[in-house]
Symmetry: C2
Subunit: 387 residues, 2 copies
């Protein structure tokens, strides 16, 4: 199999970017990534753009052609991917496959989402399209309700981790304060999380990720070419996994272990020839704090039911044995839905290059990114390794 590496990254600040249009965000983040790779637009042979719901939130579909126009791409092929919150991860996966196929050598992958200009109700409706609209959303279920059911079931099968979930939020806010691009720039306490208003029991306000605008891009190249042209540390994609599962939550056999994560992680670990213990640090999809705990178990870092312990004993902290979400994650860096997959990749590359400054993890040669769509109907996992 052909080796593929990442040679450039670029992102907007994540947050409320009222002054940016979708194309403004694409221009800034895409431009930064191409520049970071030491390339120009003419060097890009194909592009993939992940976006969840511009069609509804911005009345804007056909983002591939917007990427072409904004970045000055002539007639190269550009493809939009969408898989709810895993739209960005899928863009990376397809870019990776494009280079594997031999059709392309240098590919831009990116993702973008603009949400904060809409009302909370409008955003809730937009996000609900990531579940089965007829069988779930129309019955009144929202995503906080889905993940509240998952949390309650986890409490029943294993133990109550409400306090450890709060610690996830505290850790995320702390890391976010160290990330200049993060939306959330304030520390919180366990007490504040535990005392916050309930959204859907047992999830309270600080158990939920954010509504965010942002765009993140990365330049991929066949490694043999990357070695010739890259002036920075080359970051190889040593494992790529992509799996699906049923759309509806009620039809899943198990809701405290996500089948899509297990399958995608298996593919990625197998390609990489690595085990969970070999991973130095991770960005995992913490759409809710309970999801972070489940994901770290499903990725094989901790035994089922023990993910909470790794939070309370400091294992997941930036200076812990297995740092989780040093970027601040979806909880504090922000969750620009479709733009989350490559936002995770941005952090992995930044850490592996040793450029993460105040949030730099100690050992950062091998990182994993875990991107989940909807109530785990899609999962994309990538393992990156510095060369």
């Amino acid at each position: 199999m052909r080796s593929v590496s990442i040679i450039g990254i670029g992102e907007t600040r994540l947050g409320k970017l009222a002054e940016y249009s979708l194309s403004d965000m694409i221009k800034e983040a895409g431009g930064k990534a191409i520049e970071d790779a030491g390339l120009e637009a003419k060097d890009i042979q194909a592009a993939y753009i992940g976006n969840f719901n511009g069609s509804y939130l911005n009345n804007q579909s056909h983002l591939s052609a917007m990427v072409t126009e904004t970045l000055g791409f002539g007639t190269i092929p550009v493809t939009r991917t969408e898989a709810a919150c895993a739209s960005g991860g899928e863009a990376l996966r397809q870019g990776f496959i494009g280079i594997l196929s031999g059709l392309y050598d240098i590919v831009l992958v990116g993702d973008v989402e603009k949400m904060t200009h809409q009302s909370t109700g409008f955003v809730t409706a937009a996000v609900a399209s990531a579940m089965d609209y007829e069988k779930e959303a129309m019955e009144g279920i929202t995503f906080p309700a889905c993940f509240a059911m998952i949390a309650n079931r986890y409490f029943y099968e294993y133990r109550n981790v409400k306090k450890e979930m709060a610690m996830c939020a505290v850790n995320a806010h702390h890391n976010g304060c160290l990330n200049p691009d993060a939306q959330m720039q304030k520390e919180i306490t366990i007490e504040k999380v535990m005392d916050a208003d309930l959204i859907a029991s047992p999830l309270s306000l600080y158990d939920c990720s954010l509504v965010t605008d942002g765009a993140v891009f990365a330049v991929l190249a066949a490694t043999e070419i990357a070695e010739k042209i890259s002036k920075k540390r080359i970051v190889e994609i040593v494992g790529s996994g992509h799996s699906g599962d049923k759309l509806t939550l009620y039809n899943k056999k198990n809701i405290t272990t996500f089948s899509a994560t297990l399958a995608a992680a298996k593919e990625a670990y197998s390609q990489a020839g690595l085990q969970p213990d070999d991973i130095d640090f991770a960005e995992v999809h913490d759409c809710f704090t309970i999801t972070q705990i489940i994901n770290t178990e499903d990725l094989g870092f901790f035994e089922k039911g023990k993910g909470g312990d790794a939070v309370s004993d400091g294992t997941i902290a930036i200076d812990g044995k297995k740092p989780i979400n040093p970027s601040g994650g979806l909880k504090a860096k922000g969750h620009a839905i479709g733009a989350t997959g490559i936002s995770q990749i941005f952090e992995l590359v930044t850490q592996i290059r040793g450029d993460a400054a105040a949030r730099q993890v100690k050992k950062s040669d091998i990182g994993i990114a875990h991107n989940l769509g909807g109530s785990a109907g899609t999962c994309v996992v990538h393992i990156l390794k510095g060369r």
Copy 2:
């Protein structure tokens, strides 16, 4: 480069399918394609689903997971692509690349759209998201207006082909009557088209394609595997081209020749080692009658400005020298937006197998499918050849 073939096809009837949900359409068309290939769900290793705007029209995003749940796919990777009216063509293109990459051997590609349940105004808004919403749609431009400007410019640069455009519609309706899956099942006359109400001058009612529901799927396999398992005539993808262009119409240098078509066709012809004269018949993207004429010129079948002559002299008829849209095309088979790309492939495979009954073209070994997105911001071209 690895050879990829099509070994199964399936589609719903196109039209007003009020009794079908999105998942009903996926189930019927996807199930038929898998059965037509002589396979079962467990044999499919990956899938791609093209959909334009379920997010807005049906409040349903994340169709990949719906495909997984509906067709019983376990945890295989499923990816949604979107490129306006070329969403289906992109699904095929990505499925093709997936097999080229060596990651997959057998891939299901499909597309689906459900539109007719919404009001005309709602559909117009949904479709307008395929242009630049801020710079075009918000200024009051609709797609009929875009293509009316294109037609007027064509009249200015070459000659007035209003009558030949009408003949395109007559030809499409005639062919549609021979296709049991086509939405439009009535013959029309040149006079009827010429006298119809204007939509955007010079386009009248019958110059415009239809609002349609439908789903179409195809099973792809590496040709070396297709040869072992297929009991029907194997249809090889001998050329695949995918190109982009600017999203906005006003920024395009030339609007009577589509750069995206030229580039995608060049890639496809080059891969296939074929010339336009080698193509026996074609399905081209006739979202409007003028588009059909321009497309047949851009594909190299006729000189620029001469596409109208090929309509009036009968060249494009089913029994002509270069049959165009024997299925009835977007004009009469129907234009279920995101589901058009693979609908064209369904017709090519049906013709190449010799299964097109009353609409069978005489020479049908090599066909080309041309799928356009928006005002030519995306183009996907595939050349299929019977083995």
